[in-house]
Symmetry: none
């Protein structure tokens, strides 16, 4: 039996940008569009070209290969023709496969916010859709406040939808703009819209989480017949956020109620990438992943020693609503974790390190990694630090050099011209081959100064690190308040094109940065030897 | 017309204690029980007396005045009589108004986890309920895995519920233990249970958030006829958490779909205390409130300058699904580089600053905000820095003190015992009333040291900042690489319960932190004066 197709529409880059505290750069947007495109999302809404310089620059190219790349914007203004509206022209000139128009569908808003007549608004919808199609684009219409509008004046709300479809829009999307509609109401209203003659195959749902039911509202609309669902990565969005696609997608693909009837554009085996997708997005926003997030959170399959833990160990499947590996997550029983060893062996093998299962150094390594991860180290995102730690504990990394001490100084004062100036300086003492060397450097900040001083004179190793460069530097505060633990992740690269991440953790940001900088240098020296065949394979 | 009563059952102290990372002390539990009792919750489940020393100590007294205080525990073991089961005896001896038994209702689990026959399990349920009633308690039965059990063997699941009710249980609670059931399934199964003869007035729902639908599942059960709903404060709980009562309660009390049919034990005017309840609970857990939480989050009624902001200012009600003050929250229109003049005026007005539209200082302020936001400042997330900047540019903030210079030193070296040690020290020179003062402090890192030194001696202002504390510290690297620009956001609070965010931006993380720390102190001094009426309203 062939399944009905549900189309996934991501608005992370548009509605997600309305999230208080989130501001994407053009580079952020490019990176996120790539993630979404690669994952199998059908539509990627990139923003509102013409509304701000970031979105305009982002739309200078079509940013997706497989997904339809969507530009968002207003319908034409009342009283001018489509060809005479500069806003519409800018929207249609932006590079995109599709245009999503936002349109008022509540007569009250037409009057109060647009200040035009109901008929003028219908005319704007129809003419804008036709202009988009004439420009060779697929047209979608977001009906703003559709549910409130339908409650107040169902005929007018339906007329807006009808007009869009008659003009050739591929989709009409029913938006619960203020987020207050309940699932039972969504189900009823979507049912009535379809009963009025609008085909479900051209209907979408755009839900907000103001009563914690954006996902439930989206599913209720799908049950009632809608076939496109809009949402964002990790549920970011205006106010309480949009429908969380990271929660919706596994439910659609794994729960028999939906999976038996529907298909999406995401290949079944691709679903295991969803935990990684969610974390990559948080990483990009530089925020800690939500531990309790459905499917992908660190606690989503965790059980504390309690009434369920022993039963869970006996029969995990009956206590888990889906197998954690289907979403790329893992089970955590927070007593003694027996499941880790095989993973470690596989992980080490992948790096060319063979360790027998009964090697005691392996148990020691597992214990150290667990202890450090409890302290805040994140080896998942710092592969070079993990490999270095493993090789050190398996005694295959020489001590190249030893930093006996460092000192950083940051000073803010008035310079000779009476201007405020902040200077940073670092001094490093390092022993190479029994000989002590001292280096000093100034930098843009203490970490930059320390980095420069560390790499200034490593004696006989100096020529090997000439092409080492810092590519990225990330800081995360792991717990709030004044006694915060800081995690630093550093990305390095060299002239061979290799890139590697290292990690440091401390209550002192300079110390954490030092650890990550050191790991980066030592990793590079180790890799040089490995490539030269000087380190024997274990 | 009289409304049907919905009973609210809080399990924060029991199921909430299964949250990874949360461990309540007896004092925590006493405090939380008080909060719940005062708010009008019907049932407060305190824990599992006998299972651990904390819960046993907590149940040495009945901890609620108005709410029914509930002890949780297992039904009697198979093969012993109720009077010979020491676990049951301990449970019945604990001080409580009611006992909530957890009972298996999925035959598969009876066999695998309990290892007894289906009949023995029914006997345990009946005998335990009878024993609780004989001990003078109200009896409730949590039917574990009810929905999975019902799908596998409906007759047996129903027999468990039936047995509990026939033995005199006031409530049978249908639990979606692994959290995977969908709202449509909950609605259908609850309907079937009621159709089989179980009165909805004796049925409860206990939902988990593993597919992000615990609230929707709870409401679906209520729509189908259940009249008790279990959940936790802020949705804490095992794995992805329980149904969030902080979200459920306003929906039940404010959404016409429910409010017109149902009543709860919470007085209507008491609902405005729910934002405070939610924040008090986070405070007790020492964690930052979730900004995007429905109804109570800091962003729940926030709008960034964008397509909605100007309309929102005209007609707030039509963009808000409930009035923010009904839940004790407030509207926020956020400033950002997309914001127009009207937003600025409205935002300033909300802070008690009236500026005429044609005031040139307003144009200057807008220009400075835009320029700074282009540099990386994020005023929408730093309301105190925004207000401070506005008041400075409108010339209403005195220069309280002047930091002429500071110096931070971070040193990593071996201590006398040969251990590596990293120490941070900061020295600050500040001029107050023409007199220079110098302070020095050590801290966990350079920022902590600088914070301590800055607030160590501000002369005549010192007594005013004694209750100022750093609550959170966030760092974001705005662009990659070595010449990175760093944005620091700092949250402060004081003994009045006020919280404010400040921001600093620099290529030097210490300088950025300094700016945010300074803004926090000056903001506090300014607010103190405002409250004392020393700053005249503009």
């Amino acid at each position: 039996m062939s399944k009905e197709r549900i189309y996934l529409f991501d608005t992370t880059l548009r509605d997600g940008q309305q999230t208080p505290g989130i501001d994407f750069s053009v580079e952020d947007k490019i990176e996120i569009a790539k993630l979404l495109d690669g994952f199998g999302i059908d539509y990627v809404e990139g923003g509102y070209p013409g509304a701000n310089p970031t979105d305009t620059a982002f739309f200078a190219q079509n940013r997706t290969a497989d997904a339809r790349f969507v530009a968002f914007g207003m319908t034409k203004r009342a009283g001018v023709s489509a060809s005479n509206d500069p806003g519409l022209a800018a929207l249609l000139q932006a590079k995109s496969d599709a245009v999503c128009f936002v349109a008022k569908s509540w007569d009250y808003h037409v009057r109060v916010a647009l200040g035009c007549t109901n008929e003028e608004n219908l005319d704007s919808i129809g003419a804008s859709v036709e202009a988009a199609i004439a420009a060779g684009k697929e047209a979608l219409v977001d009906c703003e406040h559709f549910f409130d509008g339908f409650k107040a004046n169902p005929d007018y709300a339906l007329a807006c939808a009808r007009t869009a479809l008659d003009a050739g829009a591929r989709w009409v999307v029913l938006c619960d703009t203020n987020g207050g509609t309940q699932p039972a109401e969504v189900r009823e209203i979507v049912g009535k819209v379809i009963a009025s003659g609008v085909p479900g195959a051209r209907l979408g749902i755009h839900a907000h989480d103001d009563t914690g039911q954006a996902v439930a509202n989206s599913l209720a609309a799908i049950e009632a017949g809608a076939r496109q669902v809009q949402g964002t990565l990790n549920g970011i969005g205006e106010r309480c956020g949009n429908a969380n696609l990271i929660t919706l997608i596994p439910t659609l693909m794994l729960k028999p109620l939906y999976a038996e009837r529907f298909s999406t554009g995401i290949p079944q085996q691709g679903l295991a990438g969803i935990s990684r997708l969610s974390r990559a997005f948080d990483e990009l926003l530089n925020r800690a992943p939500e531990a309790q997030a459905p499917y992908v959170g660190g606690s989503a399959f965790a059980t504390k020693a309690g009434i369920h833990a022993s039963a869970l160990i006996k029969e995990p499947a009956t206590y888990e609503h889906v197998p954690p590996e289907t979403v790329g997550n893992r089970r955590k029983v927070m007593v003694s974790d027996q499941g880790g060893k095989a993973n470690f062996i596989a992980e080490l093998k992948r790096r060319g390190i063979d360790v027998p299962r009964n090697d005691q150094r392996l148990d020691a390594l597992i214990a150290v990694v667990k202890e450090r991860e409890a302290e805040g180290y994140a080896y998942e995102g710092a592969d070079a630090s993990f490999e270095l730690l493993a090789r050190k504990m398996l005694h295959t990394v020489p001590e190249f050099f030893n930093v006996t001490s460092f000192r950083c100084m940051i000073e803010r004062r008035f310079d000779a011209n009476g201007n405020i100036k902040t200077v940073s300086e670092a001094i490093v003492k390092v022993v190479v081959d029994g000989e002590e060397r001292m280096s000093v450097a100034e930098g843009h900040g203490p970490v930059n100064a320390l980095d420069l001083a560390l790499r200034k004179d490593l004696g006989k190793f100096q020529h090997e690190i000439g092409d080492l460069e810092l590519a990225d530097y990330k800081v995360r505060i792991l717990n709030g308040g004044t006694e915060a633990i800081t995690r630093v992740l550093i990305e390095s690269h060299d002239s061979t094109g290799a890139r590697w991440w290292t990690v440091g953790v401390s209550d002192n940001i300079i110390e954490a940065s030092f650890q990550a900088l050191m790991d980066s240098i030592v990793y590079k020296l180790m890799k040089n030897r490995e490539m030269a065949g000087l380190v024997a394979a274990e």
